[in-house]
């Protein structure tokens, strides 16, 4: 299973689409690694600089409908090659969420209240998250203060994450 713990990147906006996560002009790459420098290059978000803000982060916290738009699995891959394997949001676009699980990555849904609470308590601070996939909880910590939150993933998503992806599973079963 992948690592889901580490420093948090806060993206305080809803409806961040896959063109913003990885622009189409980079879809001509045949390796995942080649996507690394371009993550969130076209993100429209005041104060955000992908060149400075992505480095060293291991998790994303955002608002609603993350990953809407294109079906490109390059979006999760661009996160993955930057060692970001978990995104917390109120909800995800269907294809993006499925792509995350198919890659063994975690698209964790939280209530709007909890996402608001995380932004209020930790937004703008150097924050670290620790994920417990069995309990479906995430502990956020900053400047000595910690708080636990529940998240939701389907049994299907959890099984795929634990199995390490859909191809091996399906190849054996069908």
């Amino acid at each position: 299973m992948k690592n889901f713990d580490g420093k948090v990147l806060f993206l305080d906006r809803s409806d961040i689409n896959t063109d913003e996560i990885i622009p189409a002009k980079y879809l001509t790459e045949i390796t995942k690694a080649a996507l690394k420098p371009y993550l969130l290059e076209d993100l429209k978000l005041a104060g955000f600089d992908p060149k400075k803000d992505v480095s060293g982060k291991r998790a994303v916290v955002t608002r609603e409908n993350f990953g809407c738009g294109s079906s490109r699995e390059h979006a999760p891959w661009a996160l993955e090659v930057n060692d970001i394997n978990v995104v917390f949001a109120v909800n995800f676009a269907r294809i993006f969420r499925q792509n995350m699980s198919n890659c063994g990555m975690l698209a964790a849904e939280m209530t709007k209240e909890d996402i608001d609470d995380i932004f209020n308590n930790f937004g703008g601070k150097e924050t670290v998250v620790k994920v417990n996939i069995n309990d479906k909880t995430a502990e956020f910590s900053a400047s000595g203060k910690s708080k636990n939150y529940n998240f939701k993933i389907t049994d299907f998503d959890q099984a795929l994450i634990e199995a390490g992806g859909w191809v091996d599973f399906a190849n054996k079963r069908y």
Partner: protein, 431 residues
């Protein structure tokens, strides 16, 4: 309790439930293009399982960047070509025969009512216009589809859109779907099937239904779906005439792919289309929609007519009606990309290409290129394009560019004036 059309298609294709809440469906077709398929092919090769579940059910095209613009896109095309040859995939459309996937696959008769289809492309929702369950997926789902002919989904929830009234002249399916997205928002149908019903849909051509269903994903919808009817049968007749003794028996057979009256819906949205004016997007999200009248006078640098949304013959005919006898403004660039070779040739025979060229348009080969800023019409920083495509995301047609989504009539009228303008075909008055 009755069932929706999507539930009926699920029940008819269910293989098993690998996990609680996940339904693995048998696929009737897997569509492929050169942007999302090569990585799946390479991964299958690396795993030592370079196989396809059924070469007759895989349909492939090179459409996003064609002809290749550089070594990387040439390589993507090469991987597709060699793969299609290796596996004897007969329905593979390469240069000379290729067109935008969601236009050429229906045109070739590959979509039928009740089908399950996946493709590594979010606008696969277009094919729901035929009463099919057709969904965009990522490369991993595509890979499993190619290998095993199955794909897993959650059981479908459906939002029903009851469209009443009649469209004013000069108002089109594009204006309807923009207004639906405006009403429910870009997250309004996430994880839901969008079922379009009502006499407005019955009156719409298959081309218009495809335009409508094409943008379901822009509200988060898994697929946009219309019930099959006589128009569906007329469109498909050349491909199905040996299977049915007459059109009536085909319509009867397909009528099983209609929701029951007591089907359960997530939500029912009623929309009176008589109130809809020609519309256009204004921001970076497809739910940011205003009337053309409200946006009137906004200067544009480029006009793009084409794509899986509005690059079909009906769209070209409408735009030509607006352009005929006019020149485009000297301050703009006009680009037309007919979505398939057949559309291109039909437009030539009908004199439509001549009207576009006489007006000052550049006519490119069929390709997705400009819509996603890949080729054939990329915007420069600060440039504005009115486009018949489906996405106005930041950077979509080129870094720093602005895209206003509109119908072919509005795009053509705006080409003449150089600013966002209502077409002469619209006679409904402006609020």
């Amino acid at each position: 309790m009755g069932k929706t059309i999507a539930e009926k298609i699920f029940d008819a294709h269910l293989v098993d439930e690998p996990f609680e809440g996940a339904y693995a469906l048998k696929l009737d077709a897997v569509f492929c293009h050169e942007i999302t398929t090569p990585i799946a092919i390479e991964d299958l090769k690396a795993r030592g399982i370079d196989k396809v579940f059924d070469p007759n059910k895989i349909k492939a095209v090179i459409d996003h960047v064609t002809p290749a613009k550089d070594s990387k896109t040439a390589e993507q095309g090469k991987i597709m070509r060699e793969w299609a040859r290796r596996h004897n995939i007969k329905d593979f459309f390469d240069i000379g025969n290729n067109g935008v996937c969601h236009a050429i696959f229906p045109e070739k008769g590959f979509v039928r009512p009740g089908y399950t289809i996946i493709m590594g492309d979010s606008h696969t929702c277009t094919h729901g216009a035929f009463g099919a369950f057709a969904a965009g997926v990522g490369t991993t789902d595509l890979e499993v589809g190619i290998l095993k002919g199955v794909c897993a989904f959650k059981y479908p929830k459906t939002i029903k859109f009851e469209l009443t009234g009649s469209l004013r002249p000069g108002v089109y399916a594009k204006d309807v779907i923009l207004n639906i997205i405006k009403e429910i928002g870009v997250n309004g149908a996430t994880d839901c099937v969008m079922e379009f019903t009502g006499s407005v849909i019955s009156d719409m051509s298959m081309e218009s239904r495809m335009t409508l269903c094409n943008m379901a994903i822009e509200a988060g919808g898994t697929v946009g779906i219309c019930y099959p009817d006589s128009k569906t049968v007329d469109y498909l007749w050349d491909f199905i005439k040996n299977d049915y003794k007459d059109k009536e028996s085909a319509i009867k057979e397909y009528s099983k792919w209609v929701s029951d009256k007591d089907a359960e819906y997530e939500k029912i949205v009623k929309i009176d289309v008589s109130k809809i004016e020609p519309s256009v997007t204004f921001g970076y999200k497809p739910d940011q929609v205003k009337t053309v009248a409200e946006m009137k006078g906004t200067k544009v640098d480029q006009i793009y007519i084409g794509s899986c949304t509005n690059g079909r013959i009906e769209d070209l005919r409408i735009a030509a009606e607006v352009l005929k006898g006019n020149k485009i403004s000297p301050s703009v660039r006009g680009i037309l990309s007919p979505a398939t070779p057949l559309i291109y040739r039909t437009a030539m025979k009908e004199g439509i290409i001549d009207i576009f060229m006489e007006a000052g348009f550049c006519v490119t080969n069929p390709t997705c290129g400009a819509c996603l800023g890949m080729s054939n019409g990329v915007l420069a920083e600060g440039e504005v394009c009115i486009s018949t495509t489906n996405r106005n995301f930041n950077g979509r047609m080129g870094k720093g560019g602005m895209v206003h989504l509109a119908s072919p009539a509005t795009a053509a009228a705006s080409a003449i004036t150089g600013e966002i303008t209502n077409s002469k075909l619209y006679k409904g008055g402006e609020k």
